[in-house]
Amino acid sequence: MKQSSVDAVIRGLKKAGVSIVCYLPDSLFKQLYPALDADPDIRTIRVTNEGEGAAICGGVFLSGKRAALIMENSGLRASVEPLARMGLGAGIPVVMLMSYRGELGENNWWAIPHGITMEPVLNALRIPYRIVREEDQIEQSIVDAYNWSYNAYYHSAIALGGEIVR
């Protein structure tokens, strides 16, 4: 990720009122995680799997603070059960920012499943999402996701793909 894209993500998170980020690091966002760690206005919590991160974000929602779950899109699959329970069972929202592994252009065989399953899994959970490939749309897209989730009290997702992460 270019520094300007990292800056756009952090601007978007701050504009949306996010003060806590849970993450499990991945390679496409590798420049983003240390920038989040270094930001004095954001507390980062490293998690052992993305489902745990989703549950922690749910707890943060209940506190009145705003959280983000940041991960590779494969983490969506690890999060499905807590997302379904919290979102559909209780109306506790989690906003996710994920790197789009496995889209056209992918050159790792192991990442192909991530691309094949991301949108069907989001659709199965009825989670609205936006795939962002232009840097100038990052900030507003993150804000839009929070506006939606804090009216729907349901999850939303932003996937960053294309040249943003390559």
Binding site: R43, I45, R46, I56, G59, V60, L62, I92
Partner: protein, 202 residues
């Protein structure tokens, strides 16, 4: 040791705390044992979610004492949270693990703790939660409640309880969505904050 008896001892010590609790028969037991904590308690349906959610709540409200009422099955579903707690060292999170050595709500098939080898408190200590203990008597449990509720490090007590359910207790009628609203409105009122505010237009 009965879970319900432990709950009554813990409940007597609670006033301003917030509680996240696990699914199963312990839900109705808790709401009967701690009626004054009804609005301040939220039960979660998913194994592996209870302590992570309680930790998220603790991270968001660092000035407030948060209680996680987890279970053996729930904790073993996501042991990773113990490592996260070990690294994050929340100062305001007290975790109780009701270890009845079975999946009680589906009739009681054994969990991994039933065979005398798996020790959740030892796993927690190995994960960096130094104050993690097993309680086998009400006296031990109450002593850990007293210490855990004022600790400024993460504190876990694994309560070895019988696989029985307190008879003749009132059932909770609300679902997860209503429970969420009750809990959120309680947090809003007691913290003086807005979590679920008005839309732009009515």
């Amino acid at each position: 040791m009965k879970r319900y008896d432990c709950m009554k001892l813990l409940a007597a010590r609670l006033k301003d705390e917030l509680v996240i609790l696990s699914l199963g028969a312990s839900v109705d037991e808790w709401y009967n044992a701690a009626p004054h904590m009804r609005e301040a308690s939220l039960f979660q349906q998913q194994l592996g979610c209870v302590t992570p959610q309680a930790f998220g709540l603790a991270a968001g409200l660092p000035q407030r004492r948060i209680i996680s009422l987890d279970t053996d099955g729930g904790m073993m579903f996501n042991l990773g949270i113990l490592a996260t707690l070990g690294n994050e060292q929340p100062k305001n999170l007290f975790t109780v693990v009701w270890d009845n050595e079975c999946y009680q709500s589906i009739g009681g098939p054994p969990t991994h703790t039933a065979f005398g080898r798996v020790d959740i408190a030892a796993i927690a200590r190995g994960a960096g939660v130094e104050n993690a203990y097993t309680a086998r008597t009400l006296e031990e449990f109450e002593a850990h409640c007293e210490a855990g509720l004022k600790a400024d490090v993460p504190y876990i007590v694994v309560a070895k309880v019988a696989g029985t359910v307190q008879p003749d207790i009132k059932r909770k009628h609300s679902d997860g969505r209503e429970d969420k609203y009750i809990f959120v409105r309680h947090v809003e009122a007691t913290e003086g904050i807005v979590i679920m505010g008005p839309s732009e237009h009515n």
